[in-house]
């Protein structure tokens, strides 16, 4: 009877072995996956078991932590002036995860980053709790405030960058939300309301929303004309008949009002925002060259700031659509950040710097563990052509559609835009303004403003009337801190 007993012993051994193999599977092979599972509340429990590190602007924390006394989460995230800063910080919620910087730099903020290993170990030995590191941003508090206040109650977004480095100085989106309201464990109601809100307060319009660029795109078209040698002199007459028929169609392209567009020079055409001139430039260059120029400015690929900005697009299209795209009224769409990059590249003498908003990561003991160095993304236009573009953009502000952006004693270049949209252009147009300011020290700021619901005005002046003043106050805010 011993033979079967021995076999039973083997069978029992196999049962235990199966358990051991399974245990290795879930505790070793799958461990990391299970640890990071989105339903695993340990992640959140750990995240809020000590005060989070802060997100810092101009040396001041714009976030904070508050003790809750709850069982699961000892601390809760708080935000100072949350609505204004939401497009920068994102939110960090005990229930609904996190996004933007709060999510991307979570490891540093919670103190779990590998580079904080030494700090953690020292703290553990000395019996101190784990501490989170800080994220120091490139933002400029005054510029942000100017942008947020300037947008006011209207729906829109502002992106401002330092053309010399790519530092993001302002990133505003309205209507906004206060991340504090969804930070806690019992904020389901507030969360659902935000999600259901038709105005999408949680949408970061500056990075995540694309708009038809309208006439602001003419800057890109002008750049393409110069770069491809279609026109060399911005003050020479162009070959621009009036009326002008869109290629392959019988449709006459209209200008906004009775403006001097026939054979107008690029300077005059930009000054008055001539659709016919730039439509024809785009048609003459063809779809491929236009796409190439747009891509050089950063179109058709996402930009990680590190918060990802969705790609602005300039797609392949047929001839009439391509001509319309040249005036920003076809299938090309842009984020406000992208248009700020266009203005910035022109202002920085053609050199496009990669936009970024996290300047430094700082350990709890104030050691800097990462310092972002500005990176060049490319040279969309030559320095010579950039200067020509600056000159004609400055004319726009001096005596064209963008006079509202003038600043005393400072050279400002800009471009207005009013993008039609909706079926038969029935929707309220988007008012655009892109601009830069120049001092003896190069250009410290380029800005793009878009305002969605400009109720009454439907002509090209909309951009100049609604968006330009916002751009102006943002530029002034930056200039005031520059000195």
């Amino acid at each position: 009877m011993n033979k079967p007993v021995r076999r039973i012993a083997i069978f029992c051994g196999l049962l235990i072995l199966a358990l051991m193999v399974r245990d290795n599977w879930i505790q070793f092979v799958q461990a990391d996956e299970l640890k990071a599972n989105k339903h695993n509340r340990r992640v959140t429990i750990a995240r809020y078991s000590q005060p989070r590190g802060n997100i810092i602007v101009d040396g001041q924390a714009i976030t904070g932590s508050q003790e809750t006394g709850g069982i699961d989460f000892k601390f809760k995230r708080t935000y100072k002036n949350g609505e204004m800063w939401a497009p920068v910080t994102g939110y960090s919620s005990q229930v609904f995860d996190a996004n933007q910087i709060e999510k991307l730099e979570d490891k540093v903020l919670t103190g779990d980053d590998d580079r904080l290993f030494f700090n953690r170990t020292v703290d553990m030995i000395t019996g101190k709790g784990k501490k989170g590191g800080d994220v120091i941003t490139t933002l400029n508090a005054k510029a942000q405030e100017a942008a947020f206040k300037g947008l006011g109650k209207s729906k829109g977004a502002v992106a401002a960058i330092d053309p010399r480095t790519g530092k993001i100085l302002a990133l505003a989106s309205t209507p906004s939300y206060d991340p504090s309201t969804i930070a806690g464990a019992q904020d389901d109601k507030a969360w659902k309301e935000l999600q259901a809100d038709k105005n999408q307060p949680m949408l970061n319009r500056a990075l995540k929303q694309t708009y038809p660029p309208g006439s602001t795109f003419k800057v890109v078209t002008a750049a393409a004309a110069l770069e491809n040698g279609l026109y060399k002199d911005v003050d020479a007459k162009t070959d621009s008949p009036l009326p002008w028929i869109l290629p392959d169609t019988r449709v006459e392209l209209q200008n906004e009002g009775n403006i001097p567009c026939k054979d107008a020079s690029l300077r005059v055409a930009l000054q008055w925002s001539c659709n016919t001139v730039f439509g024809k430039v785009s048609a003459d260059l063809g779809n491929k060259k236009m796409i190439d120029q747009a891509n050089k400015f950063g179109f058709n690929k996402p930009v990680d700031t590190p918060v990802r900005a969705v790609p602005s697009v300039f797609p392949k299209d047929n001839r009439p659509q391509n001509a319309m795209a040249g005036i920003g009224q076809a299938s090309n769409r842009v984020t406000p950040l992208q248009m700020a990059m266009v203005a910035a590249a022109v202002a920085n003498n053609g050199k496009l710097m990669e936009p970024y908003m996290v300047d430094k990561l700082r350990a709890p003991n104030l050691n800097v563990i990462e310092h972002h160095t500005p990176k060049e993304m490319g040279q969309p236009v030559s320095a010579e052509n950039a200067r020509k573009l600056q000159s004609i953009m400055e004319t726009v502000v001096e005596k064209g559609t963008g006079t509202a952006a003038q600043i005393d004693n400072v050279k400002v270049g800009g471009k207005t835009g009013t993008a039609q949209h909706g079926v038969d252009n029935s929707g309220n147009p988007y008012a655009w303004f892109i601009s830069y300011a120049k001092t003896g020290n190069g250009s410290p700021v380029a800005v793009a403003v878009v305002i969605e619901s400009s109720e009454t005005i439907r002509d090209d002046i909309a951009g100049g009337k609604l968006a330009a003043p916002v751009a102006k106050s943002v530029m002034q805010a930056v200039l005031s801190t520059e000195k």
Partner: protein, 471 residues
């Protein structure tokens, strides 16, 4: 293992040695010291981790566990001198660690915030003491395990009553495996039935084994039993299915059927029984799970544990898996995990998840090894036993123990569908710990008889290896 093997010649287990094996009682005592010390360290560790100070109950706990182990040891020394020296320390270790985990989960604010929360550690300590008392009683009262053979059919009736009774009591948590006595609490008769039933199977199969083994036809390399010999296995199978249907408990059903097949195989030495058994349990399980809603739910929860977050069903398995995963290789340390997120039954059915999270892969492997060792010592006892009844009984008990560990741990780790059984010795629950102490007592008694030096001649007829087939 060689250090524990009583003698170099132990492989020759059926030979009756007159030389007299060493009793190994001092080995047992030394091991017991470890088995008491380790849980005490664990207890201190929990207190230090959770409150930052030595727990005030440490002395009481240490003394209590020490006393239990001491009494157990003294009784073994007196009444089962040649018993296997590992069984008692291993069971004590598991019991001790189980108590620490239950106490640790009692401290969890998250569990304390639940409705119907009661601290269980004190009760469990009392149940463990009752378990040891039963252990002592079995050792003292049961002079020789062969006496049990006389109660073969009484055991059958007792087992039937124990198994059927829960059907008349209300279902708890979706399974009818409890007998609820208002005011006193509830007991899980299945745990006791396990022992009583193995006595019946051993007694029955010892008598019938030749008929079952010899009268068969050969077909495709398998010895097929005669139709009428299929009766018993069919009866047990049908009974297990009935348990499954009426008590909606896959675990109990699997345990009893598995135990029967194991014992049948050992008694007859026919592989065909195993094949039959596997086929029949597969057929039964599949058939029942197609129409039994509760079983179906369990299977679904096993296949898609994380769906619970979508459809709002119980997320216990998912939580247990995440507890294991979060523990990783070395675990978070005592008292620092969040296995209490499992919520309901965290300290009973799911107790292994706490081991997984706080002691890590290393800890679970150690615990599984301890369980494996208990099974191994049980099977070794079966090998060493000189009488077929003892062999069958020891195999049945250790087989059932192994199957139970597999079914529970496998369920908690998502290897098989979850069933309503408890980790022997560790899980919170009185019936389980008391019954398992009795099980260890029976194994110890068999091993004592097996290793005891041969008495004066006049061997009992039961000890003969060949037997007359009695009608």
């Amino acid at each position: 293992m060689s250090a524990i093997s009583p003698m170099p010649n132990t492989t020759n287990t059926t030979t009756i040695s007159t030389a007299g094996a060493p009793s190994r009682r001092n080995t047992e005592l030394a091991l017991l010291a470890f088995a008491v010390l380790i849980p005490c360290f664990a207890y201190a560790n929990v207190g230090l981790a959770m409150d930052g100070e030595m727990p005030s109950g440490l002395l009481g706990y240490g003394v209590g566990l020490g006393l239990m182990a001491g009494v157990g040891h003294l009784v073994v020394r007196k009444f089962a001198k040649y018993a296997d020296p590992l069984l008692l320390p291993l069971a004590t270790l598991l019991n001790g660690i189980g108590l620490v985990i239950i106490w640790r989960l009692d401290q969890s604010p998250r569990l304390q915030a639940r409705k119907f929360f009661t601290a269980s550690a004190t009760n469990q300590l009392m149940f463990s003491a009752l378990g040891i008392a039963l252990f002592v009683a079995v050792l003292i009262v049961l002079k020789d395990h062969r006496i049990l053979q006389r109660y073969t059919y009484i055991s059958m009736v007792a087992a039937l009553i124990l198994l059927v009774a829960p059907m008349f009591f209300p279902a708890k948590f979706g399974a009818r495996i409890w007998i609820t006595i208002p005011g006193l609490g509830s007991i899980q008769p299945g745990e006791f039935a396990k022992i009583v039933l193995s006595i019946f199977f051993a007694g029955y199969l010892m008598v019938k084994r030749d008929a079952l083994a010899l009268a068969s036809r050969r077909f495709m390399g398998l010895y097929l039993p005669r139709g009428r010999d299929l009766g018993p296995i069919l009866a047990v199978w049908a009974f297990s299915i009935l348990i499954l249907v009426f008590e909606t408990d896959l675990g109990t059903s699997l345990l009893f059927f598995g135990m029967f097949v194991v014992m049948l195989y050992v008694a007859t030495e026919r592989t065909s029984w195993i094949v039959f058994g596997l086929l029949m349990s597969a057929v039964g399980a599949v058939a029942v799970s197609t129409f039994e809603h509760h079983v179906q739910q369990r299977v679904d929860a096993w296949l898609h544990p994380f769906d619970a977050f979508k459809d709002g069903s119980s997320d216990q398995i998912a939580q247990a898996l995440m507890a294991f995963g979060s523990g990783g290789v070395f675990g978070t340390g005592w008292g620092q995990g969040h296995s209490d997120l499992i919520g309901f039954a965290a300290n009973s059915d799911f107790i292994l998840a706490t081991v997984g999270e706080e002691l890590g892969l290393a800890g679970v492997m150690a615990i599984l090894l301890v369980y494996g060792l208990i099974v191994e010592r049980g099977v070794r006892t079966a090998l060493a036993a000189r009488d077929p009844f003892g062999k069958l009984l020891a195999t049945g008990l250790s087989g059932a123990f192994a199957i139970q560990v597999f079914v529970v741990a496998g369920g908690v780790m998502g290897l098989i569908p979850l069933t309503g059984m408890t980790m022997p010795f560790m899980a919170q629950g009185g019936s389980s710990v008391i019954a398992n102490w009795a099980l260890i007592a029976v194994l110890i008694k068999i091993s004592d008889t097996a290793r005891r030096p041969a008495p004066a001649p006049a061997p009992s007829p039961d000890a003969e290896m060949t037997q007359v087939v009695r009608p």
